[in-house]
Symmetry: C2
Subunit: 457 residues, 2 copies
């Protein structure tokens, strides 16, 4: 193979360092080998195909998730982990049942609306629930909206002006997470929520809602953004129109599941752990390609790359595929509990759960709030790969319990604009994942793992 311009650039970069810093040169060369290994002949995309095609709809308690647990442990064995483990976790078990139905009746005509019950929603009566509708655009607006006996329609769009879509998701997402309970508190009998996406299309996005103790649990569903616009227009024309919603869900007893763990044992300080992980579960309607099949496959790929390079880590490198991120976080909670019990020391817990798009950087957090500044010393090494962002953050949901126990955490920051187009929908499929973006993300994670293994954080 010809010497690549980027390899030459990396060599130049290394050559420009002070002579005493031959370590930096070795690091630059190792990063180049990590990226080469990820970009040339990686099995990652094929593995993601298997996961999403064989085990779509990996919701907690499902047969698909149970199958994916077995499949991914087998894969971790195949790539040569020194140890694999299925860490038992009991998970909530909610099923959607027969497809939901939402429609409105106005002037004698019935108009169906594309909808998905929110995860955890209680069912309606078998014949459905029919009531007039009150439209609001925030959780706060419920209390003065006169919702008694009505269905509350939360129609606040994601703010298009935020450059980072996750900020708009967090803000508008309160309608989904807290809206139905708030509506119930004020006497509403059902809730509809505009899907959390910037896209205007007919694809409904599900996701969790949270009920409150001592407040009635009311049925709740997401409408596609097109359906939300349609209902909103119809309400302007006929404020007295009635919506019928029929949800056929059920809650079952907690089900057995597991965090899937595989590791390469550290050669110097095996008791110290560097964790990479994602979550293996997905929403029931979704193949879970970007959320979070890519995070899982990339985490496995980190270990494969380091094995392929014959790298002997100083500390234990551990891949954790968490169970039940979507509707309970039981996997993350249990992992942190056991780690605390065993007094395990995590040098870093790096999560990827923002989609398998092109890697742009990391968010990094610790109790002192200075971990991202420490990590920024690695920045020049990442520049040849377009990985330029090192900012303060909290990693992600699955490493949250570890951070709460004082560990340093991080989250890969991928390019973010496309994620919420398909998040929590049936359209979160393999074809939305670009093979090279998947591979570059894995290499970027492996590079940080290597640097923390060598130099700490």
């Amino acid at each position: 193979m010809r010497l690549s311009p980027l390899l030459a650039a990396a060599a130049l970069f290394a050559a420009a360092l002070p002579a005493q810093d031959s370590r930096a040169e070795a690091d630059a060369q190792m990063l180049r080998r990590i990226y080469d290994t990820a970009l040339d002949g990686s099995p990652a995309y094929g593995q993601l195909r298997e996961l999403t095609e064989q085990y779509p709809g990996r919701l907690a308690g499902s047969a698909a998730l149970a199958g994916a647990v077995q499949w991914s442990e087998q894969l971790l064995r195949q790539i040569g982990c020194d140890r694999t483990e299925l860490q038992p976790v009991m998970v909530p078990h909610w099923e959607r049942g027969a497809p939901e139905r939402v429609e409105f009746a106005s002037g004698g005509a019935r108009t169906p609306l594309s909808a998905l019950a929110l995860g955890g929603s209680v069912p309606t009566a078998p014949a459905g629930l029919t009531a007039p509708v009150v439209e609001v655009t925030s959780v706060e607006a419920v209390k003065d909206a006169g919702v008694q006996g009505k269905i509350v329609f939360f129609n606040g769009p994601m703010n298009p002006r935020y450059v980072v879509p996750g900020q708009a998701y967090g803000e508008a997402g309160r309608q989904r997470g807290q809206g139905p309970a708030e509506a119930a508190k004020h006497g509403a009998v059902g809730a509809l929520v505009r899907s959390l996406t910037h896209a205007l299309d007919d694809l409904p996005h599900t996701g969790s809602t949270t009920y409150l103790p001592d407040v009635p649990r009311i049925p709740a569903a997401a409408l596609s953004t097109v359906a939300a616009e349609k209902l909103s227009a119809a309400l302007r024309a006929d404020p007295a129109l009635q919506v019928t919603m029929q949800i056929n869900s059920r809650w079952l007893a907690d089900a057995p599941s597991a965090n899937v763990i595989g590791e390469i044992r550290g050669s110097e300080s095996p008791e110290k752990v560097i964790l990479v992980g994602g979550h293996l579960d997905s929403w029931d309607v979704s193949p879970g390609a970007h959320d979070d099949g890519t995070g899982c496959i990339q985490s496995i790929e980190v270990l494969r790359i380091l094995k392929a390079l014959g790298y002997r880590p100083r500390h234990t490198i551990r891949c954790v595929l968490f169970t039940n991120e979507e509707n309970g976080l039981r996997g993350a909670t249990e992992y942190a509990r056991v780690a605390g019990e065993k007094k395990e020391n995590h040098l870093l817990a790096l999560e990827t759960d923002g989609g398998g798009f092109a890697a742009r950087g990391f968010n990094i957090g610790n109790a002192a709030g200075d971990a991202h500044l420490k990590a920024a010393r690695f920045k020049p090494l990442f520049e040849p790969y377009g990985v330029l962002i090192f900012q303060a953050g909290r990693g992600g949901a699955d490493v949250g319990p570890l951070m709460a126990k004082g560990n340093t955490v991080a989250g890969l920051i991928p390019e973010a604009q496309r994620y919420f187009d398909i998040h929590h929908t049936r359209a979160d499929t393999l074809d939305k994942v670009n093979q090279r973006e998947l591979e570059l993300g894995a290499a970027t994670m492996a590079a940080l793992v290597y640097l923390v293994d060598q130099h700490g954080l």
Copy 2:
């Protein structure tokens, strides 16, 4: 609207500047307004839909390009340009004719291969051309490959190890650009070229090839990467197999076309121009969404945003939609010639022709080689928008002739991994463009235009 966290961040950033630098605060606020205007209610995506759906296949000489010229000038008038112009350009006129056919015969069986004639290819005889095949993986390999009387099959893949796909495209692309002529020089009768993409699929990618004076012009076509792999495997099994290729193209007389120009006249120094542009033509088989419908629509959107904000530029802001980038560069050449004749002074010529993906930065070039360093003083203003790269470069093909005349040029750098999946194919369609990425690119261009208008470069 609530104060957005990013607006707050921008305000904080501005507040952190020295007191004497109230200009920087004004600039930060102007950039925020530019991005808000682009992200909230922009017509750009709808315009791109019109362009790609009404005028797909805008190759030089086509009715589609002629229609797009009229359509886009009309659009520039509608957004309130002070002046629009169709700058006449005579362009080459090549037509593909009836669909090409490529197949190989081995052991009595005929296997069809997905192919597209290269742009500019001469036709075969009506019945086709049948010959044995020699496979090579570089232009250099031709001279020793014994190609006399044969079809040369250029099968060198794009190097997956380059992080920036454009580098791999440039390297492997020599097979398409120079391979057929080199093969003809050594007596070959035809050429097949592996499509220039990292993707392994059955989608052929066309593009220009260049014949040489005094060397026979031989028919040349691109094979999909799947077809290339298939042919390569068949050749290993049967080195004597014969390929039949049938190309029905024709060259016509040069046709009239035009660069489409619209501008907002400068209030202080109207004779000094800041140019934004893309190319309006596309390959005949392609709707030309990312290549380069997005660059055109974003360039128009730059002017719309500045008009919408009531901004009165000091210098003339000019949008140029170049004709005939794909197979001649006649539009860019003519534009630079006329600009030279009129002694126009271009402060900056900013091109976008790398796809309408998320904006990551700029490449910037001038004769002294220091323009990117000067532009880097704007970097803190772009950080809230994730625009982090300010590197030396040559803008792009259409501003090349302007750079050669001593002007400063720039090119928007979008996220690059997905571009060559669809480049020069029938799959370069609107659905591959993300609305917010399109808008963010336009805002990023408008921001640089504003800053150069205020502060020079």
